[in-house]
């Protein structure tokens, strides 16, 4: 594994001092590189916070937008975002848990069908979000006749988060020790009951982590929603209404509405803060999971 550079460093008599000064130089460079990344992170988050926090108030969170979003709040937009997420999760979670359980517990490792499903999920995970938008528009809005609606948007996002969920579920089941399956079988338990009462509880932390990751991904999405759930910023009356997600609101205010920036900043702050909370929840769950496993 040692390449020429490393070996050259060993033989030359002058190598050591030169190596030392190079080493010091590289150390500085690496610290600077890492510092740059940290600086950019604080620049972005700080910028959003500093400019957004001024507009943040209770009424901003519940009021309707006025003047194309320049004034008022984002009440209906938060409701629409919530509804889109609900539709997305209501569809993708049962499907994802079922598919994950099948791949992890029922599908033999030699199964061709299992391998093809895994392969196509890998592909699905790589599909760009704008392509999900095109597909959602063509399939849900036009072909199934749902139009620009919260339903179309939620279903499109469901397709998008499916691979994330399935992977987490599979990993959750994979982390359950094989002895539990063997013991359950030796006790004459059916596979259905083993799955429901032994494996599912043991895999729950993995499922939760996947759920939270999926929610985070769905909430951050914009491009897939522009042509599926649409732009309408009124309070949605039903799932068949068009509804504007927070991310779409930020896009619209910054690109299409002159003077929309202050409210775009505040919306971005609300969105980033929610995502940070969700992200924190993920790592807390992960941590508890690890603790639980080392104890058991």
């Amino acid at each position: 594994m040692l390449d020429a550079t490393a070996q050259a460093g060993l033989v030359g008599p002058g190598a050591l001092p030169r190596g030392r000064s190079l080493d010091a130089f590289v150390t500085t460079a690496v610290w600077l590189g890492a510092g740059l990344i940290v600086a950019v992170f604080f620049w972005i988050v700080g910028d959003v916070f500093v400019h957004g926090v001024g507009g943040l108030s209770w009424s901003f969170l519940i009021d309707s937008p006025t003047h194309a979003g320049r004034g008022g709040g984002i009440g209906p937009i938060i409701v629409s975002t919530g509804l889109i997420l609900t539709v997305c999760m209501a569809v993708s979670v049962p499907l994802g848990v079922g598919a994950g359980a099948w791949l992890a517990e029922f599908c033999p490792s030699t199964s061709l069908l299992g391998a093809s499903v895994r392969r196509s999920l890998d592909m699905l995970a790589g599909v760009p979000s704008i392509v999900f938008g095109l597909f959602g528009n063509a399939f849900f809005c036009v072909y199934l006749g749902m139009g620009f609606s919260i339903l179309s948007g939620g279903l499109t996002l469901a397709c998008m988060v499916l691979p994330i969920l399935i992977r987490s579920v599979e990993q959750g089941f994979g982390s359950v020790p094989g002895e539990h399956r063997r013991s359950a079988a030796a006790l004459g338990m059916t596979r259905a009951r083993t799955l429901a009462h032994v494996l599912l509880p043991a895999a729950t932390p993995g499922l939760m982590a996947g759920l939270v990751l999926g929610i985070g991904r769905a909430m951050a999405e914009t491009a897939a929603l522009i042509f599926t759930s649409g732009y309408v910023d009124r309070m949605p009356q039903s799932l068949a209404d068009s509804g504007r997600a927070m991310s779409v609101h930020i896009y619209d205010l910054s690109m299409n509405v002159a003077g929309g920036e202050p409210n775009a900043y505040t919306t971005a702050l609300v969105l980033v803060a929610s995502l940070l909370v969700i992200n924190g929840a993920t790592s807390a769950i992960g941590q508890r999971w690890l603790c639980g496993r080392s104890r058991g």
């Binding site: 080493d23 990344i37 988050v45 079922g98 890998d122 596979r191 910054s254 790592s283």
Partner: protein, 284 residues
């Protein structure tokens, strides 16, 4: 009995999930078909310009400028983000004290969770004015490259981090026993040992850059023209779809689906290549 029912129900879930990607491809192809039939592939590159119309015979459909926009922003972003991402992973593995490394990783994870629309918005209101002061108009290829690089940086950094974590301890101990300096250990031993993992990370980051819409849409200026310098505005394939989908009809709409299909093909290829290199399952 219930075991059989359950097994079938779960298998159905699996098949439905696996079929989603086929459904997507089917609809993309179906919607692309009219344009492909009436325009043919050649006109996407030989037409005089991009002035689409609902009727193929009346519009001009040259997408070269958008393709080069996508390629240029992606290439620039990857050139910027790949070294920096690897440096970040090297930092947290071999240079930072454990506590600093932990905080650094958390920050990178948080960076990965920020929505692309927020990156785009930040680019538009913070970065573009700076570039504008340097060389107007500000909304430019360079702005796109920088924002995209920041966006894909966490992908490279996190996957490189995982790759370095898999370098066998014995290699590093061996290097230490030979009295190699830290940098020589990293450059000569750790990075070569982890190279397939690093390459996978860069490929997946490239896939992410190619498919990214919002960030480039908001900072690149979206003028359909081959850029003369990094300060000129460009329009990417993804931005083109996002901008025109709202009013596109007929063959124009179909042409947008063709560009979507192209994007999907490109990304699937990149993901598949990454899968070959990592020999593991990859999810972006």
């Amino acid at each position: 009995m219930s075991d059989k029912v359950l097994a079938w129900a779960l298998r159905a879930c699996g098949i439905v999930s696996g079929a989603v990607v086929l459904l997507i491809m089917f609809f993309l192809m179906q919607e692309s078909l009219p344009a492909l039939q009436r325009l043919g592939l050649a006109r996407f590159f030989t037409d005089a310009s991009w002035h689409p119309a609902a009727d193929a015979s009346q519009g001009r459909f040259n997408i070269t400028a958008m393709v080069s926009g996508t390629l240029l922003t992606t290439a620039g972003a990857v050139l910027l983000a790949a070294p920096l991402g690897v440096v970040s992973a090297v930092f947290s593995h071999y240079y930072a004290p454990p506590r600093v490394a932990r905080v650094h990783r958390r920050l990178i994870e948080l960076l990965a969770g920020i929505p692309s629309v927020v990156y785009g918005f930040w680019g538009l209101v913070s970065l573009v004015p700076l570039l504008n002061a340097l060389h107007p108009p500000g909304q430019s290829l360079l702005a796109g490259i920088v924002v995209l690089a920041i966006m894909i940086l966490p992908t490279v950094a996190l996957l490189s981090d995982a790759a370095l974590a898999n370098v066998p301890r014995s290699y590093l101990d061996g290097a230490a026993a030979l009295g190699l300096t830290r940098w020589r250990t990293v450059w000569g031993v750790a990075l070569p040992a982890a190279r397939s993992g690093l390459f996978t990370g860069v490929l997946l980051a490239t896939a992410r850059a190619v498919g990214e819409t919002m960030a480039v849409l908001m900072v690149c200026g979206n003028v359909v023209r081959l850029p003369g310098s990094v300060f000129d505005p460009v329009r990417t394939l993804t931005a083109n779809i996002a901008l025109e989908m709202a009013y596109a009809m007929g063959d124009h709409r179909s042409a947008l689906f063709v560009s979507g299909l192209t994007l999907m093909g490109l990304v699937v290829l990149l993901v598949a290549a990454a899968g070959v290199f990592s020999r593991e399952r990859v999810y972006a």
